[in-house]
């Protein structure tokens, strides 16, 4: 028998995967037909889109609107920064107490439960809950984004701590250092850059979310934006959108600076 014929093919076909892809494609077509998304519907949509864009241009830069924009945007920034500061400061102890390699189970599991609760719902849902609980305005937004920040930063921080080298911790422990000093010298230096990374990401995320919580009445530019939508003030809407983009870009630049500082 020829040697070559006994060898398996170099790249074996993966039939289950091919069938899965085909099924996915078929379902997508079927689902589109159910939802009556046809070519005609798409063309109608395009026409409406063109009219929408036409009404957005040029952006509205009248003094009264700019004042409204500045007020809303400033409130959003305040919400984002206060919520980030609170969330990050609270995440430090919560994340530390939730790390299973440093803490006994009876401390970690309630902390992990707390983190899981913070992560359970989308910021908008938490914001609605807080609007109902403490009333309309920035306070509800701050509380909502603080909760969301804890859910994200504390969870990742705890996971980062669980991955540290215990040898460094052991060495600090062997000097007779008190527990908090072991944390400060043996644990924090190992996770500080990652913590700064999570924190700056969360600041960025809070900036974007702070422009949104206003839609449900939790303060900030979101409220102004929602009003512009409802009054068909699409030219003012464009001004708001451009301003938000500018804020996010500036924050991106600042984040990179901060991360380099802690490298």
């Amino acid at each position: 028998m020829n040697v070559a014929t006994t060898r398996p093919p170099a790249f074996a076909p993966n039939w289950p995967a091919r069938i899965a892809w085909l099924l996915l494609l078929l379902y997508a077509v079927y689902a589109a037909s159910l939802l009556e998304i046809t070519w005609e519907r798409f063309v109608v949509g395009l026409e409406q889109g063109a009219r929408f864009i036409d009404r957005m241009l040029p952006p509205d830069t009248s003094a009264s609107k700019l004042e409204l924009l500045a007020k809303g945007l400033y409130e959003s920034l305040e919400i984002a920064i206060i919520a980030s500061a609170l969330g990050i400061v609270l995440s430090l102890p919560i994340g530390l107490l939730a790390a299973r390699n440093l803490m006994p189970g009876w401390i970690t599991w309630p902390m992990r439960l707390c983190i899981a609760l913070c992560r359970s719902f989308h910021q908008v849902i938490i914001a609605i809950v807080f609007v109902k609980a403490v009333g309309f305005g920035a306070l509800a937004g701050i509380l909502a984004l603080t909760v969301a920040s804890i859910g994200f930063v504390a969870k990742l921080f705890a996971e980062a701590i669980e991955e540290i080298s215990l040898k460094q911790v052991e060495a600090v422990r062997s000097t007779g250092a008190p527990f908090m000093s072991v944390i400060i010298y043996g644990v924090l230096p190992q996770v500080l850059t990652r913590f700064v990374g999570f924190a700056t990401y969360q600041v960025d995320s809070n900036l974007r979310n702070s422009t949104m919580v206003g839609i449900v009445g939790a303060g900030g530019i979101g409220g102004t934006m929602f009003a512009a939508f409802q009054r068909f003030d699409y030219d003012f809407l464009l001004t708001i959108l451009l301003a938000i983009i500018a804020v996010i870009m500036v924050s991106e630049m600042l984040q990179n600076r901060i991360k380099r500082m802690f490298q």
């Binding site: 080298s165 040898k167 460094q168 052991e170 060495a171 600090v172 422990r173 062997s174 000097t175 007779g176 250092a177 008190p178 908090m180 000093s181 072991v182 944390i183 400060i184 010298y185 043996g186 230096p189 190992q190 500080l192 850059t193």
Partner: protein
């Protein structure tokens, strides 16, 4: 119960009937009893996995002994908890096989961390070390030849340099005894000798005993004043390095083919 420890006061360190089981029924240390000399280097030799590391970690309780006593200047360390244990740990310096420096802290911060047992966490956080500690840290860095590296991060150093920082950190504790767990195993032969010489100098100049786990027999013979041979969780040799024969080594490490090299 406190009286029980007093008889050990004559020796710097005494271990009585020490047993350690990581899993029930499979002891790593099977009842070790040893008196360590007051001065000089004591080498603990033996194959990997025979419990040398466990023995040394049971002394400062980085590992909890299952039973037995560790008498350090008359105090039974196995009974201590919390602050009392930390106060004894301050007097026991430790050097590690993989240096165990805090990689992201500077060389100076690593050396000064030897004083953490004497500072409050707040002072430690603000790096408020007493001036005499800082002066001592500079002196130690001079001794180990790392003064120019003081403000570099520990992860920028080579293995030999890191081990010197590790030793400086241990000496910074102004310890009454120094434990070294395989301090040369991750280093090249030349650096290994330099590290052993450094430990020897420290033992002489500070008049403290140094207990070194080491599996390199020629190094042990060259630097130790006292040798403890371990095998299978037991002590099988205790005495002068000169009294260590090939017969003993065969008993400690098993086999004999490897002995042909010297």
């Amino acid at each position: 119960m406190t009286g029980a420890g007093q008889s050990g006061a004559a020796n710097a360190l005494e271990v009585r009937n020490l047993v350690k089981e990581y899993r029930r029924g499979t002891p790593v240390l099977r009842g070790i009893s040893l008196r360590f000399p007051e001065t000089g280097i004591t080498a603990v030799i033996g194959p990997s996995g025979t419990g040398k590391s466990t023995l040394i970690r049971c002394i400062n309780r980085l590992v909890e002994p299952t039973s037995g006593q560790v008498l350090f200047r008359g105090t039974d360390l196995t009974r201590l908890r919390g602050r009392a244990l930390r106060e004894q740990r301050r007097r026991i310096g430790m050097v590690f096989q993989e240096y165990n420096l805090v990689e992201r802290l500077t060389v100076m911060e690593n050396v000064l961390s030897g004083r953490l047992g004497y500072l409050s966490p707040w002072q430690a956080f603000l790096r408020r070390y007493p001036a005499e500690d800082i002066a001592m840290a500079w002196e130690l860095l001079d001794t180990v030849g790392l003064t120019p590296f003081a403000n570099q991060r520990a992860d920028a150093l080579s293995g030999g340099q890191r081990q010197r920082v590790g030793i400086a950190r241990a000496v910074m504790q102004r310890p009454d005894i120094l434990l070294a767990d395989e301090p040369t195993s991750s280093l090249d032969p030349k650096t290994s000798v330099e590290i052993m010489e450094l430990l020897s100098t420290i033992s002489d100049s500070r008049k403290i005993p140094v207990i070194v786990n080491i599996h390199n027999v020629p190094l042990a013979r060259r630097f130790a004043h006292h040798v403890i041979g371990m095998s299978g969780g037991h002590v099988v040799y205790e005495g002068d390095p000169s009294g260590l024969t090939d017969e003993h080594l065969k008993q400690i490490y098993g086999g004999e083919d490897w002995l042909g090299e010297h």
